[in-house]
């Protein structure tokens, strides 16, 4: 029962998710709307709680067993607790149950977002430019015909997307655009078709109960 019931639910809801696309009857459409706007919202709220619980469990376990880099788990747990408290009392922008501030510095989620999340996120991505420059110098070599072609195409596109490209030749941006529009799209479309067919096959396997690894417990075929 523990395994059959979830499989049955997946079969029913999996098939039902397809029906609104092919059956315009109001019964199907209204049921679909009801499921999406009510059931799915409730499920995602549960998923959020489960996700947070699981995150905390994994990191407390890591600290207990002193696994590699366990110190960082403390950072995660502490920031989780501090952010939750500030969010609960300060709200999104000082609209919580007990808004607090020191001078002009309010304790709310917006403050954390603009003073911690935004600078940290920007810094992480800005540092990538340095690593990419160093990696490109070391790894981007014309070792074979394919690598040489990639190098040439990369150079044309890089120059073409810069204002400088238009100054070198007005044809350069158009040629760069052609590379993106034709050879790039040909390759991308092949990948997209492959991914889509793979997704259809995997979805069918899950709906029909052939693929069961999502149930957990190492029961996948």
């Amino acid at each position: 029962m523990k395994r059959t019931f979830p499989l049955f639910l997946v079969l029913i809801f999996g098939i039902f998710a397809l029906l609104p696309y092919i059956i315009p009857h109001p019964i199907i459409q209204n049921t679909d709307e009801l499921l999406r706007n009510n059931l799915l919202k409730i499920l995602s709220a549960f998923a959020l709680v489960l996700g947070l619980g699981s995150l905390l469990k994994v990191h407390t376990d890591k600290i207990k067993r002193k696994r590699e880099n366990w110190e960082y788990s403390w950072v995660l747990i502490m920031t989780f607790i501090i952010t939750s408290i500030i969010g609960l009392f300060g709200g999104v922008s000082g609209t919580g149950i007990l808004p607090t501030s020191i001078g002009s510095f309010p304790f709310d989620i917006q403050t954390i977002y603009f003073n911690v999340v935004v600078p940290l996120g920007s810094t992480m991505f800005a540092m990538l430019a340095f690593f990419m420059a160093s990696a490109a110098y070391r790894a981007f070599r014309a070792r074979s015909t394919e690598a040489t072609l990639l190098l040439i195409a990369g150079f044309i596109v890089m120059l073409g997307v810069l204002p400088l490209g238009n100054r070198i030749s007005p044809h350069l941006p158009s040629f760069a655009q052609w590379i993106m529009d034709v050879p790039n799209v040909a390759g991308q479309r092949g990948i997209l078709f492959g991914v889509a067919l793979g997704a259809v096959a995997t979805s069918l396997k899950i709906i029909l109960g052939i693929e069961r690894s999502w149930l957990g417990g190492g029961g996948g075929k």
Binding site: F114, S122, F125, F130, Y137, F140, Q188
Partner: protein, 287 residues
């Protein structure tokens, strides 16, 4: 041959230093680089420009701080364009992290317009000219649900007002009243709008994406599924060029100002790739 060996092993700190200098210097001495507007951006501009008066433009702000330098100027330019044309605007985010940045862009652009407005009609008024719908999880719910009823999915807006009490939302019921949706994102949301909102409800979709994720989106642009496409910093600069040229909107051109550091950084990377390859080829010949 010693020089060749040295060129093959340039210390990474030297690369970092040169890159830092070419990025920082143009920021200290800012300048604006003009760009040639390419067809994908031109098409997006016209798609926004042609949104009928009775319909709305939805802007999906789905960029995080990491991708904001590329995508935020697109958001600014789109908002300026829409408000100048007096197009009705709905703002939303599919992820909660993006709401702060969306709010930021809205506040700044609205202040620009309202600071020069002389009458109530000239001003950009919340609920009449635009609505910030906020965020409803998970992403699939608003994308599909808005096809039937926007106020049903977003029962309250970002500020906690009931959406069915806002004058604008009495006119904009679902996708039938939406002329175009533009998704600004560094990941998959533009594809979702195509897969769910366009395929099922026929919604017109445009996109603004990061340069690194652009290659996959050209497939959708080529088939006409995207009404237009902005790619990276240059795409944003092209849109800024369009709104300045066509609508005489004179405002700070953030993306155009960012192009000189970007250009020099690209050139430095290209020079290092050339150096790396010359030394590689010479070492190979030597062997």
């Amino acid at each position: 041959m010693k020089i060749i060996d040295k060129l093959a092993k340039i210390d990474r700190r030297i690369i970092y230093l040169i890159l830092a200098v070419v990025v920082i210097l143009p920021m200290i001495f800012p300048s604006v680089l003009r760009v040639r507007v390419m067809p994908p951006v031109e098409k997006l501009f016209h798609a926004v420009d042609n949104v009928p008066k009775e319909k709305a433009l939805i802007i999906d702000f789905d960029y995080a701080p990491q991708t904001a330098p590329e995508l935020e100027p697109m958001g600014f330019a789109l908002l300026r364009h829409a408000f100048r044309k007096r197009t009705k605007v709905l703002i939303l985010s599919l992820y909660v992290q993006m709401l702060g940045l969306a709010q930021n862009a809205l506040t700044e652009v609205i202040e620009e317009f309202n600071s020069v407005a002389e009458t109530n009609t000239d001003s950009i008024i919340y609920g009449r000219d635009y609505v910030f719908l906020g965020w409803v999880p998970p992403p699939i719910i608003p994308i599909l649900g808005m096809g039937e009823s926007i106020t049903n999915v977003y029962q309250v807006d970002y500020y906690g007002n009931r959406t069915d009490t806002l004058p604008l939302m009495k006119e904009i019921k679902n996708y039938n009243n939406v002329g175009l949706l533009v998704s600004l994102s560094g990941s998959d949301p533009p594809e979702w709008w195509i897969a769910y909102a366009q395929n099922r409800f026929g919604l017109q979709v445009g996109a603004g994406v990061t340069a690194v994720s652009a290659s996959k989106y050209f497939s959708y642009y080529q088939t006409g599924q995207f009404s237009g496409l902005m790619v990276g910093m240059k795409g944003a600069a092209e849109y800024e060029e369009m709104i300045e040229k066509e609508l005489a909107i004179k405002s700070r051109r953030i993306a155009s100002e960012a192009l000189p550091p970007l250009t020099y950084a690209h050139l430095v990377i290209m020079v290092f790739i050339v150096i790396g390859n010359i030394s590689f080829l010479m070492q190979r010949r030597k062997k």
